[in-house]
């Protein structure tokens, strides 16, 4: 998930976790790992003191980012629509 969006919309409390899109709670059937993430999120709810607080949870994913296979099987319509702009943004970022 992307805690950076907090800068755009202002979210009351964020428990940020560095897990791939579509599996924010944890890996399939890894119940203990899912519970650990959820308990950490509940602690954020208990301890947050001001609106807009972002807590960075300590969990790291067990696969390299490129190996996570989180992408949809077809390119999403908005990506197709803006593909030229996306490529351009990538080219500018590489400069």
């Amino acid at each position: 998930m992307m805690p950076e969006f907090n800068r755009e919309i202002g979210i009351p409390r964020v428990a940020a976790v560095e897990h791939p899109f579509g599996r924010v709670v944890g890996e399939v059937n890894e119940n203990d790992g899912q519970t650990a993430v959820l308990k950490a999120a509940l602690e954020v709810l208990e301890n947050a003191e001001r609106p807009g607080e972002v807590a960075h949870l300590p969990f790291t994913w067990h696969e390299e980012p490129k190996a996570t296979d989180w992408h949809p099987p077809e390119i999403s319509p908005v990506i197709k629509l803006y593909l030229d702009e996306i490529k351009q943004a990538g080219a500018e970022a590489r400069r």
Binding site: M2, E8, F21, T35, K39, L42, P51, P77, L81, A93
Partner: protein, 172 residues
């Protein structure tokens, strides 16, 4: 695995060009507007929770989120919501989302909507209760007007009717 010093990088899993494009749309400064704040008024062990995800989950009895219109109108995302009973099983649900691989959620709904894990947290008194209904909306809203003004007031009314004190929203 854990890293106590981890600072979450929301762009980590994105292809670099897509990440650069999204980054160009997000302000660099902190949010300046007013952020809603509802304090937690009870201990967790007395708090009733509802779960909500943007994963595009529907019960088989309900219409799926509208993928066909989004294919025709790429900047439109379905602004409706679905109620998911927390006793739902994998056989009861479907998932439609044009922005993520939905296969993981179909195998284990808890990766996006942790209904079984929260039932366990209720059973061991970590939380007070899990409300009978969970919710799914669709996590692609370039224009969130309908979602904010029409959909979410209905969700809030549903939650209040079930005595919900706090909500965990799990984005996709």
């Amino acid at each position: 695995m854990t890293d106590e010093n981890n600072v979450v990088n929301g762009f980590l899993f994105l292809p670099p060009a897509l990440g650069a494009w999204i980054k160009s749309t997000i302000p660099e400064d902190e949010f300046k507007g007013e952020i809603p704040w509802a304090p937690l008024i009870k201990p967790l062990a007395e708090t009733t929770f509802a779960l909500m995800t943007s994963a595009g989950i529907n019960m088989h009895d309900d219409p799926p989120f509208d993928m066909e219109r989004e294919r025709r109108e790429p900047i439109w995302g379905d602004p409706s919501y679905r109620r998911i009973p927390v006793i739902a099983t994998p056989a009861d649900i479907d998932v439609n989302h044009l922005h993520v691989n939905t296969s993981y959620i179909k195998k284990d709904i808890n990766v996006a909507l942790p209904i079984n894990r929260f039932q366990e947290l209720s059973a061991d008194n970590t939380i007070g209760a899990l409300a009978p209904t969970a919710y799914s909306y669709y996590g692609y809203q370039m224009d969130p007007t309908v979602l904010i003004n029409e959909t979410m007031p209905q969700v809030v009314a549903d939650m209040k009717a079930e005595g919900v004190d706090a909500v965990l929203i799990t984005p996709t």
